[in-house]
Symmetry: C2
Subunit: 227 residues, 2 copies
DNA sequence: GCTAAAGTGGTACGCATGTACCGGTCCGTT
DNA sequence: AACGGACCGGTACATGCGTACCACTTTAGC
């Protein structure tokens, strides 16, 4: 968060003459260390969900993980690294969940049924768990957008997009909607856009609208040859 | 940015016995004051574009506007208010630009031509001005997402969505694509999603893909009756 | 058991932030 | 001309931040 980010791997200015391979324990050697690192990462993800990008501070992460402040700088070389790893974890979790929900859909559904199922798979769940989902997704999109300013996150942003598109494409193929990548992309972008809008604006009819527009689009794409 | 946000309108604890109507000059009485307020707002918008949400600090705004720090707290009761007004201004500017570009499109274009024109109207411009556009849009989306956590911004977020959809709907109608709101929504969401993706991920073929997918969708929607 | 590395936790520093305060100046009104 | 509110600008304060540091304890490898 502080200004100078480049030239961080500068000269070793500590007392010891030889550089003992920066102790940054990216992969801790001991079991307890690995657990601690995971706890910090989990705490970072949680904070990301609850309070967004700016909520992930060293102190907040340490407090949430029940660890001393210094643990955060010991296991992660910088806040940026911590955030980036949390982002990657969030993406992986979210894609796993989406994939799992999408795979329950089988058979040869009508466009309407497919639209409903896809909406359920890609959107936040209903009920009390929905608010947690909503915040998680909000955090994810926040980080996604951050990738537009921070090249270090760009690759992760692409993973997210590709992952979503792949889930959509596979679902379409499996349920008898053999379509090219373009059509799958259209459906994926539509789904993501509609759900993001819902996340932010919280309009009452959003879920229904998503199903309707999606069904319409699926029907239209199917009617058009060679997509 | 500091913790307690509620109960901010608490008791008047200043020396004077009577509350002289909080001096918060929301609409300055004097010309110079109005100019200063506008300058601060413009500076906030600029910072929003360049550095995103977190870059809009009292000090940065004041410095950019060439005014003393205290001016920011004089004309705006809080940072939140400053940010909200900047957001509103950004939305209005962006919608004006989009509308102006969209209105140059006339006649009865093919789906491909329409897709190209809409992409040009709604997406960032090319050339050296494109990077500024890119950052501006990034800032806008950042704030848009923030509206998911801050109810005070939600109405503005809806204005943005509605504005985009309206531009799309009017453009479609004017160019001989009489369609219902659902179809316009589909096109609008698709456009917004694709451009946002481009903003963040910066993939080479994104502009071409946007045109292709949009043309395909327009064609498909036109082929389907009653949309 | 000994030694070096890994891990630990308390503390400190420098900086930027949001916001409050206050003595002063400008200006429209009477 | 004078009065009162709008406006001005400098400064101060408390807080939270990222990161560095360092003496200490635990663990792994010989």
């Amino acid at each position: 968060m502080t200004a100078p980010r480049a030239a961080s791997q500068a000269e070793d200015t500590t007392g010891s003459a030889i550089t003992p391979e920066p102790p940054a324990a990216a992969r801790p050697a001991q079991e307890r260390g690995r657990r601690r690192r995971a706890a910090l990462l989990a705490a970072a993800v949680g904070l990301l969900e609850q309070g967004g990008f700016t909520a992930v501070t060293h102190r907040a992460v340490a407090r949430r993980a029940g660890l001393p402040l210094a643990a955060t700088t010991y296991y992660f070389t910088s806040r940026d690294q911590l955030v980036a790893e949390a982002f990657a974890l969030l993406i992986a979790d979210e894609l796993d969940g989406m994939r799992a929900r999408a795979e329950t859909l089988t058979g040869r559904p009508t466009p309407e049924d497919l639209a409903t199922a896809l909406s359920l798979a890609m959107g936040p769940r209903a009920g009390p768990a929905g608010e947690a989902d909503r915040l998680r997704r909000l955090g994810l999109w926040e980080l996604y957008l951050q990738a537009g300013r921070d090249p270090a996150l760009q690759a992760l942003a692409r993973d997210w997009t590709d992952g979503c598109d792949t889930v959509v494409a596979e679902t379409l193929r499996r349920t008898g909607y053999p379509c090219g990548r373009p059509a799958a992309r259209t459906v994926g972008v539509l789904l993501a856009g509609l759900w993001m809008e819902h996340l932010v604006e919280g309009r009452p009819g959003a879920a229904l609208e998503a199903r309707t527009l999606l069904a319409q689009t699926l029907r239209a794409l199917r009617a058009l040859p060679g997509t």
